[in-house]
């Protein structure tokens, strides 16, 4: 009988534990604390945090349960795409359809992608990684995962963690920038909401038309836009209530839980605790800030062009981060003037930002693949 072999087997939990594992477990605890105490995106941060803890106790994506989930949901892209079906089933495009010009704000909120990409190149990242870092600026979880897993799966963990963590910190990031870049007078601008009801047929046709156009313009974004619009079609068609409900509940819940755990499980100390990760987190933060700044600036531009009929705050909703960014802008306007109700406009810009992010992500993927 080999006692030493036995002792090794029993004590392997301690013997393979490194200080990096300890640090990452602490990081996981911070994510869980943000989820539980601050209620920042808890449905994602809590599973990610718990997955990070598990990865550093030996349950990595290289074997067992998390390998199975990684292969079934990340490699196949099913988890982010299934989540998009559910998100699509939760989106109401009526505000945007009633105010089509808001679409432009959804383009302006994507500058952060390219800002971060250029900075990453300057810092020495290769193009595929730089593009993946840039996609943090899409400020949309599934888009970030989809693009990064195709361009640079080796940095999937930090990119995803950055995307979701900053998304959960949106209020902390955006409010100071909003107050800094807009004057009180601008924030007080009221906007009329011409209560123009949108034809039900248009609302049903919209997701189909958008799918066709965007898939032709940016074929690499097709799966993303297709699933988002599929969910929306399930919702708006009115004839498949049971599918719409399943997409909004069971499907998205299961995919979210497993996606979060699996992403967390890629955060092993050895691979995550590098200078590169710190750089990625920093660049991701800048991407968020640049997005917000560009959005606000474009909002100010539209405000000037329209002769002060646009409240620049809604520019900050073009970044995506649906639906938090939309609510946030409305909240800031209301804080300035209790009777200033811009939520509908903000949500219009926010849904445009969602579309813009997916399109930008797909184009980024195509352009980068065409370069390397």
């Amino acid at each position: 009988m080999d006692f030493s072999q036995l002792f090794i087997e029993i004590s392997k939990g301690f013997s393979t534990f490194t200080w990096q594992n300890g640090v990452m477990i602490a990081a996981g605890l911070v994510l869980i604390a943000l989820a539980v105490l601050k209620e920042y995106e808890p449905v994602l941060l809590l599973p990610i945090g718990f997955g990070a803890i598990l990865a550093n106790l030996g349950m990595t994506t290289e074997h067992g349960m998390f390998k199975a989930l990684y292969d079934a949901g990340i490699v196949t892209e099913l988890f982010p795409l299934v989540i998009f079906i559910g998100v699509g089933a939760m989106i109401d495009f009526r505000p945007l359809l009633a105010m089509p010009k808001m679409a432009l704000l959804g383009a302006a909120g994507q500058f952060g992608i390219y800002g971060a990409l250029l900075l990453a190149i300057l810092l020495g990242f290769p193009l595929n990684q730089a593009a993946s870092i840039g996609v943090i600026g899409a400020i949309d979880g599934p888009t970030a995962i989809f693009v990064t897993s195709k361009l640079a799966p080796e940095i999937l963990a930090p990119v995803t963690v950055a995307a979701y963590s900053y998304m959960s910190l949106i209020p902390v990031i955006q409010i100071p920038v909003m107050k800094l870049l807009t004057t009180r007078k601008e924030r007080l601008i009221r906007m009329d909401y011409a209560a123009k009801p949108v034809n039900d047929g248009v609302v049903i046709a919209f997701p189909i038309v958008v799918t066709v156009i965007v898939s032709l313009l940016a074929p690499d974004a097709a799966p993303l836009i297709a699933t988002l619009m599929l969910g929306n079609l399930l919702r708006e068609s009115g004839v498949v209530e049971r599918l719409s409900k399943t997409a909004q509940n069971e499907l998205i819940n299961i995919a979210t839980l497993f996606l979060g755990l699996t992403i967390g499980a890629t955060m092993t100390g050895a691979s995550f605790l590098t200078g590169k990760t710190l750089l990625i987190l920093g660049l991701g933060f800048l991407a968020f800030v640049i997005d917000t700044v560009a959005g606000l600036m474009f909002g100010k531009l539209m405000s000037v062009v329209t002769g002060g009929k646009i409240n620049p705050l809604i520019g900050a909703c073009g970044i995506s981060a649906f639906p938090m960014a939309g609510r946030l802008a409305a909240q800031v306007a209301k804080e300035e003037d209790f009777d200033n109700f811009i939520l509908m406009h903000a949500m219009g810009a926010n849904t445009a930002g969602q579309l813009g992010s997916v399109i930008a992500g797909g184009l980024l993927l195509a352009l980068t693949l065409g370069m390397v």
Partner: protein
């Protein structure tokens, strides 16, 4: 590096250009689609009827029986309304964005539930 940076700048130029182009296209498309006239539908008639049943009770009820019947009717109507609403209550946060037409009035009411640093529990993404 400078080769890479050139590539990056090119991607940026083309990428942002195409994003703006795509969303301009969507603007035009939506403007066209939104211009299609709305047909009026009268499917919404049923629920208000039930709500009327709730609001109906007038004070000048003459006689106990009538009173009782009204009370029961109101109770049933309320319960039915609640039953009808309960599935919507289960609907996730993101979908609450739909009854836009109430605009200003909602503004006052929703101001209680501050959302700045907090989002509703369990919104998934």
């Amino acid at each position: 590096m400078s080769e890479l940076l050139n590539q990056g700048l090119l991607i940026t130029a083309i990428g942002m250009g195409l994003v703006f182009l795509a969303l301009l296209l969507l603007w035009g498309l939506m403007a066209f689609m939104a211009s299609i006239k709305v047909k009026e539908k009268s499917e919404v008639a049923e629920v208000p009827a039930a709500e009327e049943a709730v609001a109906e009770p007038q004070p000048e009820a003459n006689g106990n029986r009538a009173l009782f019947v009204r009370a029961a009717a109101a109770a049933v109507a309320t319960a039915m309304l609640l039953a009808r609403r309960s599935p919507k209550a289960a609907r996730p946060a993101g979908s609450a964005v739909s009854s836009w037409q109430t605009s200003k009035r909602t503004s006052q009411m929703s101001s209680n539930q501050s959302i700045t640093y907090r989002k509703p529990r369990g919104s998934a993404r």
